[in-house]
Symmetry: C2
Subunit: 215 residues, 2 copies
């Protein structure tokens, strides 16, 4: 397998954790999102990812799979052990909803291309751009904190004590928030889960600082 990745991309980070948890080795292909106007926007890369975003997974040299959650569900179906989703159907929905809350309500509003548009095209100042970032991360974390803190299924991790796709989305989002100086200690359940997960081998090896293209 080949993963097109950028060390700091939250979406690529999710997939790296999944690959590590599944014990799958892969070739790391760095795509630098800033250098030279963005390598993800070059025609070659757009052949396999028309959106010009990371990650992309190539399996069996035939299929390019885009979208981190589609890649993770694919890995779950092709390599079921260890499972990253619970067995019970209502619990699977719970875990998927937690993952999608990060992937659809928080992350799309604070990725690089959106922040660039807010700053350069809407032309707001840095303070307004930072407030934009904070607003979506903080409101997202507030509701996520409430859900995790009040749900009896929450354990050391988002669902019990073994990693699920919810943790795969949460940890990169917390990393991203800390990089932008959000005080995540205000979300004690999120912080506790993220701290615990980050020490697990599969998560630690997937962290931005551990990637070959880390700066």
């Amino acid at each position: 397998m080949k993963l097109y990745s950028y060390f700091r991309s939250s979406a690529a980070y999710r997939v790296r954790i999944a690959l590590n948890l599944k014990g799958l080795s892969y070739e790391y292909v760095p795509v630098h999102l800033l250098r030279d106007g963005g390598e993800q926007l070059k025609p070659d890369y757009r052949q396999i990812n028309p959106d010009g975003i990371v990650p992309t997974l190539i399996d069996d040299e035939q299929h390019a799979i885009q979208q981190s959650l589609a890649i993770i569900e694919y890995l779950e179906e092709t390599h079921p052990e260890p499972p990253l989703l619970p067995k019970a159907l209502a619990d699977r929905a719970h875990v998927r909803a937690l993952a999608l809350q990060v992937a659809c309500e928080i992350h799309p509003l604070n990725n690089l291309r959106v922040l660039k548009y807010v700053k350069h095209t809407l032309g707001v100042d840095d303070a307004a751009k930072d407030a934009w970032y904070r607003h979506w991360v903080e409101s997202g974390f507030e509701s996520l904190e409430q859900r995790l803190a009040n749900d009896p299924r929450t354990g050391k991790l988002c669902y019990g004590d073994t990693p699920t796709i919810a943790d795969l989305c949460l940890v990169p989002q917390v990393f991203n928030a800390n990089r932008f100086k959000i005080d995540t200690t205000r979300y004690p359940t999120i912080q506790r889960i993220s701290d615990y997960a980050s020490q697990l081998d599969a998560f630690a090896k997937a962290a931005p600082g551990a990637q070959p293209d880390s700066e």
Copy 2:
């Protein structure tokens, strides 16, 4: 089952199509996103959906499921027929990636609360707000068009001739785009698929104009 919905919500629209395709009857509970400051933000509703967004599905009076794609995967697992995902694993990934491209790259940037923030908090004028909307819908549709037009798996619908979760995401996004006066005829494959799907009974009955809270 009970679906908390708003007639114009793209995310609720996706779930309504899924329920119709599966032949499931449900109680429609309207949540008016504009009236009285937004019914979705009231404490009662936030008990079942802390994010204050629609849709929420209640099954068996116990579990509240948030996030449209988590709900749809839940319906797929609890009511497998007719399937909304292909059998082959690489094709499932392809269909999920198409759905997520709409759900993560387009829709989160143009829903009501984001447009409100862009206009009122960032304080840009209507022209800049409209350009924001157009930018994300058009760039998303451009890459989606390219993917659909070039993939041999595309048929009358996004994947062959029977509905998948990709169509459930595409049709509401096209409806939304037309409402905001985007010229979707520039994306002939998207337009053709959306036109075909919209005539199918399950899609027609899920359309905003056919809902009890339609205005």
